[in-house]
Amino acid sequence: MAILSGLFGFVLVKEYVLNLNDNRWNMDHFLPSFEWHHTAEGETFLQHLYNGRTSGRKLFGILEKPFQSSNLEEVCYKLVFVGKTGVGKTSTINKVAGISAYSSYFETSGIRVTDVYWPVKVWDKIILFKLQCWDAGSSSMKKYNHIPLSCVDNADFFIFIFSFNDAQSFNELPQLINKFVTSRDNQPGSIVIGTRSMLKTEVMKSEIKDFESKQNIEVLTIQNSIYHSGPYETVKVAPLLNTICEKLWMRDQQYILKQGIKV
């Protein structure tokens, strides 16, 4: 499990417990700030992620870091994207990673991993989230045993994708959620994202509401067909990335709290 470095976590819990006792602060102080990316400091950090040549965001290899010199706290998580073929898993990852994608659709073969870096301000500290986005083509997922195994192994978070103009992709979600999340003991977090929300939709708003309450899972939407270039692109995906980071962060806090209580 990708818990942030133990020591740091523990210190935070201590402070949290302390503050809770002293000042009756609420948990909100420990949540990532959603506005920070619009501040001057936030923008400076995001600038580092830009590729001047292509005006898209940069990717980083396994031997690289976006902020080489600074000693930013880094937390690493494994995110797995699941959903019917063609619903938009690969497109969503490309969107989240800020890279322009293929214009024509090719089915994904095997597993692709895209590491996405996202700086987040939590309380008074900037933390760099490294989100390893795992994308497996749905047909390879069915055909080869090792592919689903390799994907779910040590997963921290599942992102279930459906398409608003494909009712079946929505209807099969409970089954997928059951298969990937509920049966796991480390309780990975999860979220649902609907693509193609602008097109003729087969999935109704009321159905989404029902689903959210029944499954106790949040449903977000994304528009992958429009590609924004330059810094405006991060403005568009920031809410989604922040939501994911927040959920990951909360999960860790709860985990540490539990551990802390045990100790």
Binding site: I62, L63, T108, D135, Y144, S150, N154
Partner: protein, 395 residues
Amino acid sequence: MGVNVMCVTSAGGMPLFTRHLGRAEPLPFSVVGSLNGVHLFSKSHDVKLLNTHTESSTVLWKEYEESVVLIAVSALNDETVLVQLLDTIFAAMILTVGIEDLKSIKNVERLKRELRPCYLLVDKIMECLDFGDRYVGSSTQIFNCVETVLCAEKLSLMVCLESYVECICSLFGCVTVENCIAVATDAWWDLDPVERKLLSHIIIANSNCTAFDIPVFLPGKSPTVPFRLVGVCLIIGVWVTVLCGPKPDLAAIQQTAFQVWSPLVASLRSMLNARPHSIPSTVQLHSSVLGFLLVDKKIGKYLLSSCSMLSKKESRSPSEVLKTFYYQAAASLVDCDKSHKPLETYWCSEYHKVHGIRKGALIFCVMYSASVPTHTMRLISEESLTSLLSDSLSW
């Protein structure tokens, strides 16, 4: 100008897929049906239908494993190229689903679905051809040959690669810089050229992520049991890729890659400047050389180098000119089976000259500025080739 390829089952003429490239319109279903019909008709009369020509295109049929028929319709009037094209496309189909599923088709709909991941490969294969049209297949990829770079760091990379593949219990590994092979293990070079090229296509197609793990059947070496092609991006632009068995899993391989390659990060960074020159700065070529293309047809690899200073008047890059020259003039230096085998060929245009020579299975094409006297091209080409093939570079 363009090409249409379709694949149907031999038994029922059921379409499996069709792909097209360039300004070729996708063929209507009725035409596909008739093209398959004539093939079926001749087969039932024990006649093998090979090809036919219309005013503007060539049509070619080829049946594989008595199970599927590939049909190509192309404005590129060369049957040998089209046969190679179809053979390579069939190899891509094996790579995707394995030979067994293609030999005995149990469920057409399922096979159709399982073949979908190979569309990308089929498109990449078609892009390698030359259509004499700069907007079509404008990649400078050479058909069934992998692109390489010569770099000064070769030795240290090789040592590291050997220990990396050993950690993963594999023999097959390569390091690519901006999609060109910088070093590869002996086993990688022992693969069939078509296999190696298909793997290169996959590596290139996945260079917009940071790691991949893709099941592949090897058309020649392992058509029934899939390997895993596992690539890890070390720094942007530099990848290490291996072919391995079921273990270790991707996360473990990423971990190994981090450990083994960390000490080399400085050398890896310095390699990023290798292109478009693709040769170490220690190799000095004559100042009239604007670029060159060196192709080894036997191993199936090439080295493409272009100098960055270009006259403004030139609308095509040296790479494009060299690719066209290679296909239209130089490639036949090796292929032709005439009684006399030509050794050299050249073009002269207003802005540049191109000279091609053959040495065994090697073809060397050099692009010169127009000012170079035609008769000195041979001398400069020979000299340049000698320095490129020197032992110290070990291309």
